[in-house]
Structures are given as structure tokens and as C-alpha cells.
């Protein structure tokens, strides 16, 4: 593009389009530089590290290339709990995504029509999302504590729990349902509940914005035709909301799949909440095994890519068509 067609033109001033091109590139370059240094280069380096013997101690002296090996991947795939951790990550992600989008949808529908104090409630409901994760995780931890937590106190008083329940450290809570002993993965469910609570405001915000842009005439027409509220929701509102819901699900899925802090702060990855992101951290800090951590992180990213690929290949179009 910058190659000038002739000497005669080169002497002349640049054309407007050329100047625009240059300005554009110049304006984007600071951002591009930061992203390159702090995102793209590290990602490429992760790929390299995953195929190398790399402990943190010797990484200072070693070159970028060399020491090629597949040992990290063998270690990751054969390490105890790898597959169960992948399954936990999936369950956590699906649960957290579905929970937050669903609760966000319910909240958006409830707050759709104006009432006194709606503005205040709307902003207040965003608090779980804007508050620092460390602070809210500690509040949950304290409230759910078996010794001094308020939930167990009130549960005992109002719901008649016999013994305090250790929500965050019970891998499998035994429940009798019609004589069947069922193990409920309590810690995992608690973490999912936390995820739902913390991120429903995000879904709520976007769904409410979309709901308020739905033309009033559509619903009015359906009402005149005798459609009940559930029918109006199913056949009028839902198709309008579907693209936003799909987008939110994809976004939340990506974010939750890679989530580290929430689980780490609540359970430390114990009691059946061993999501892969926490395992990467453990590889890195407990064993200083950079190679294995990189391989584990890469496997996580790869699984996410495959899932997203499947979604966009088979389902994204369908959502578009239905909408």
C-alpha cells in the first residue's frame, strides 16, 4: 500500500487515503505494542515452555529454545485427578454460566416495569459484580462457616438442621431421598452458587438494556390477541432476547472456564472443586514446575477452543435463525 506507483507521485504530498492509513496505524500502535508484549509473546512462550523441561530455578539461565520434551504433557495427562479436574471445571462452568444468565434474566424481567426505587435497586443489584472478589469471598466464607457462620445458625433455628454443615469443605453431602443415599457435591454447588451470585448482575444489566429496547407494540399486539404472560414471553420476548442471551452465555462460559480467584479464595481447590485454573497455579507455585504448568494451561485453553469451535459451528447459526 505504501509503495508509490511512480516517482512523480512520490514527490507529491500523500493522498488523503494514505494519510488516513498512516494515522490509523500510528493511533493503534500503542495498544498493539502492549498487547504484543504482555499477551501475544507470553502465549507463544507458553507453547514453547510446555514442550520443555523447565523448572523455575533453572529458567533464569536457560535459553528460549532447547530441552525439547513431551514429558510435561505425559505428566499432566497421567497426574492423579487430571480427568476429574477437567470434569469439575466443566460442571463449574456450565453451572455458573447457566445460573448467572438465568438469574440475570429473571431479575431483568422483574425489574422491567418502573416502580418506586427501581433505579436504586438496579444499581444496588450490581454490587456483587463491582465489589472486590477477595472481600465478597471472605463474607461468604464467614457466613457459611460451621462454627460462627450465620447460615448454619439460622439453618439450625429455622430449617431444623441437626448439625452445622461445612459448605465449603464437604466433598459429598449424604442426603436420604426416599430411602436412597445420595451424595451431593456440596462444595462444588456452593462455588457455583457464588459464581451465580457474583455474575448475575452482569447478565441482568445487558438483558435489561435489551428488554427496554423491545418495541412496546409487539407485546401489546400479542396481549390484544389474548396471549398469556408466559406465551408473550416465549413467543415475543424470548426471540428478541435470544442473541443477547447467546452472547452472554458464550462470554460467561469463557470467563468462568478460566476463572481462578473465586474457587481459590473460597475452597483453595479442595473438596471436589479442583478446577484446572487452580491446578495450573499449584503446579507453578508448589512445585515451581513451569513446564507442567504451561502444559496444563495449554490443555485448558485447547479444550476451551474446541468447545467454542463446536458452538460456533453447530449452534451459533441456529440462534441467529431463530431470532
Amino acid at each position: 500500500m505504501s509503495t508509490a506507483p511512480g516517482v512523480a507521485r512520490k514527490r507529491r504530498r500523500l493522498t488523503a487515503a494514505q494519510r488516513e492509513n498512516r494515522a490509523g496505524l500510528a493511533f493503534v500502535s500503542p495498544t498493539f505494542l502492549v498487547v504484543l508484549v504482555v499477551v501475544i509473546v507470553p502465549i507463544l512462550w507458553t507453547v514453547l515452555l510446555a514442550f520443555q523441561h523447565a523448572k523455575l530455578v533453572d529458567i533464569q539461565g536457560m535459553g528460549i529454545f532447547g530441552n525439547w520434551t513431551f514429558a510435561n504433557f505425559t505428566e499432566v495427562f497421567t497426574s492423579p485427578g487430571f480427568w476429574s479436574s477437567l470434569f469439575t471445571t466443566l460442571a463449574y462452568t456450565v453451572g455458573g454460566t447457566a445460573g448467572s444468565v438465568l438469574l440475570g434474566l429473571i431479575a431483568a424481567l422483574a425489574l422491567r416495569k418502573p416502580f418506586r426505587g427501581r433505579g436504586l435497586l438496579r444499581s444496588t443489584m450490581l454490587l456483587p459484580y463491582v465489589a472486590p472478589v477477595v472481600a465478597v469471598a471472605f463474607v461468604w466464607e464467614t457466613a457459611l462457616s460451621p462454627q460462627y457462620g450465620i447460615v448454619n445458625q439460622w439453618g439450625g433455628k429455622l430449617l431444623g438442621w441437626d448439625n452445622p454443615i461445612a459448605f465449603l469443605s464437604t466433598r459429598s453431602y449424604q442426603v436420604d431421598v426416599f430411602g436412597w443415599h445420595v451424595g451431593v457435591p456440596l462444595a462444588l454447588l456452593t462455588v457455583i452458587a457464588f459464581e451465580t451470585w457474583r455474575y448475575f448482575p452482569f447478565a441482568f444489566l445487558f438483558l435489561l438494556a435489551r428488554l427496554q429496547a423491545v418495541p412496546g407494540g409487539l407485546e401489546e399486539a400479542a396481549r390484544v390477541d389474548g396471549a398469556t404472560p408466559t406465551q408473550r414471553f416465549r413467543y415475543v420476548l424470548l426471540p428478541q432476547l435470544m442473541p443477547v442471551i447467546a452472547l452472554l452465555c458464550v462470554l460467561r462460559f469463557i470467563m468462568t472456564f478460566n476463572k481462578f480467584d473465586d474457587v481459590y479464595l473460597l475452597t483453595g481447590g479442595g473438596s471436589g472443586t479442583d478446577v484446572v485454573a487452580v491446578r495450573v497455579y499449584d503446579f507453578l507455585t508448589a512445585n515451581f514446575d513451569v513446564g507442567a504448568a504451561a502444559a496444563q494451561a495449554l490443555v485448558l485453553a485447547f479444550v476451551l477452543m474446541v468447545l467454542l469451535g463446536i458452538y460456533f459451528k453447530f449452534f451459533a447459526k441456529k440462534v441467529q435463525e431463530e431470532a
Binding site: 493511533f27 493503534v28 495450573v280
Partner: protein, 288 residues
């Protein structure tokens, strides 16, 4: 009663039940945090189920403990607050400095790769922070930036710049191009146009974006943990609070006071600019 009538009545009631429940689940945890932070630990252990604090129990000693410098036997949170503020404000300034020209170029200028570049930036969020954490950890160790607030701010810029560009771009496209053309006719250069015409018009969006960046940086935990854990003098409030919880013999009430100290700046900022922020985030979403 017809089905339609029944449903109208049912949802009329259900709506209020949902509204009350939502208000409860969002407010009670924060109330609980505030409540425990002004109680002595004995009062908590004596009656864990209590939802208020009696006048004779009320104490601010927990806050004193949290804020007093470590040399006086406190937890030194004032210093951590300063660290967090430095990192967050630095991130806001630098991210905006990079994102404003970027967003302007993407929304206004036609240039080589201009269409792909915004998608490329958003792809940053596809990669887990943990994936970036490993090489960044090593890179920073090599560059001598581990344990430095500057290194942390650089990582935060990369994490916040894509969403900032997205938010700013959505606003820039709503500014009529004719305003800029008028400035250009008056002989203003491209940079002058951006600085004197576009930026003043985009001020609300700039503030909303800056606020969002500030919140992300203030709340961030993983990178702070990885880069700063070994240097207590540089801890951010989030990290300091988490390390405090690992410490022996720190009463839960002190921990809650720390949580309040961590939460208050973000919540105050949020309420001050809530309308700006929600509009900045969702503009574009209502177009389907």
C-alpha cells in the same frame, strides 16, 4: 378464572417476591460484612446468628487494627491502600492513553487491518489469565520487575485495554463526523481535532471507561498474588487481605473490617458514576 387471568395475577405477585428476594441476596452479604466489622470477636462467637450489634458491643477497634502500621502491631492497610491506588490510577491513565487513540482510529479511520484489529484485541480475553501468568511470571523475574508495582500495572493495561477500546469505540461512533470535518476545515490537524473536539465531547464515556478500568485494577487478585506475594511492602489491598486471612490468630471481625476497607472505595466510585458506567457498558447491546 381463565388461564390468562391466573397468569396475570400469579406473575403480578411473583414479580414482587422476586424483587424482594433479589434485594435481600444482594444487600444482606454486604450488611453482614459491615455488621461483623464493628463487633468484637467475643460477641460474634457468643451469638453467631445475631443480625445487629448492641450499643455496648459496638467497636471500631477492628478498623484501628487493620489500618495501624505494621510497626505498631497493626496490619498496615493504609500502606496497602496507597499501593492499590497507585497501581489502579496508573493503570487508568496509561490504559486511556493507549485506548483513546486506538478506539478513535477504529471508529473513524480506514487503515490497513483496521477491521480485524478490534476483534484481535478482544481475543485477549479468550486466553486464560493463568496461561499468561506462567510466562509473565518468568519474564518479570528475568526483567527484575517481579515485586514491582510497575510490572503489575503493565499487565493490567493489557487486561483492560481491549474492553476500554470497545466501550470508547461505541461512544465515538455516536459523535457526528461533521463536527470533525468542521474542525479540519478550520485547519486543525488530526491530533488537534482529537484533543480539542473529540475528547471534550467524549468526556462522559472517558469517565465511565476510566472508572471501569479502575475497578478491574483495584479488584484484581491473581497477578498481584503471583508477582507481589514475596514482597509485603508492595502488596495491594486485595492481596494483603488474602494474606491476612492465612495469618494465625487474626479474628474474623478484623478480616471483615479489612474487607470493608477494600470494598468502600470501589462502591463509592460506583455509586458516584453508576449511570455513566451502565450506559457505557451496555451501549450497543440494545441494538440486538
Amino acid at each position: 378464572m381463565t388461564r390468562a387471568q391466573f397468569e396475570e395475577r400469579f406473575f403480578g405477585v411473583a414479580r414482587w417476591v422476586v424483587i424482594v428476594l433479589l434485594a435481600l441476596i444482594t444487600l444482606v452479604p454486604f450488611y453482614y460484612m459491615l455488621l461483623l466489622s464493628v463487633k468484637p470477636i467475643d460477641a460474634l462467637l457468643l451469638d453467631p446468628g445475631s443480625m445487629w450489634v448492641s450499643a455496648k458491643d459496638f467497636t471500631l477497634a477492628t478498623y484501628e487494627n487493620v489500618l495501624r502500621p505494621t510497626s505498631d502491631g497493626g496490619q498496615g492497610f493504609l500502606r496497602l491502600l496507597r499501593n492499590s491506588a497507585l497501581v489502579s490510577l496508573g493503570t487508568v491513565v496509561l490504559t486511556l492513553a493507549a485506548a483513546v487513540p486506538g478506539a478513535y482510529a477504529i471508529s473513524r479511520l480506514r487503515f490497513f487491518g483496521g477491521r480485524q484489529v478490534s476483534a484481535l484485541f478482544l481475543a485477549v480475553y479468550l486466553f486464560p489469565a493463568t496461561l499468561l501468568a506462567v510466562p509473565l511470571f518468568v519474564m518479570f523475574a528475568r526483567a527484575g520487575l517481579s515485586g514491582s508495582l510497575v510490572g503489575l500495572a503493565v499487565v493490567y493495561i493489557a487486561q483492560t485495554v481491549p474492553v476500554s477500546i470497545y466501550m470508547l469505540k461505541n461512544y465515538f461512533v455516536t459523535i457526528p463526523a461533521s463536527v470533525e470535518e468542521a474542525a479540519a476545515l478550520d485547519g486543525a490537524s488530526r491530533l488537534q481535532t482529537v484533543r480539542k473536539v473529540v475528547l471534550p465531547l467524549a468526556l462522559p464515556s472517558l469517565m465511565a471507561t476510566g472508572l471501569y478500568i479502575f475497578m478491574i485494577a483495584w479488584n484484581e487478585f491473581l497477578f498481584a498474588l503471583l508477582f507481589l506475594a514475596a514482597s509485603p511492602g508492595k502488596w495491594t489491598v486485595s492481596l494483603g487481605l488474602q494474606q491476612l486471612s492465612n495469618g494465625i490468630e487474626v479474628p474474623k471481625t478484623v478480616l471483615m473490617a479489612g474487607s470493608v476497607v477494600l470494598t468502600i472505595p470501589v462502591v463509592l466510585l460506583f455509586y458516584a458514576a453508576e449511570r455513566l458506567l451502565t450506559e457505557g457498558l451496555t451501549s450497543g447491546a440494545d441494538k440486538g
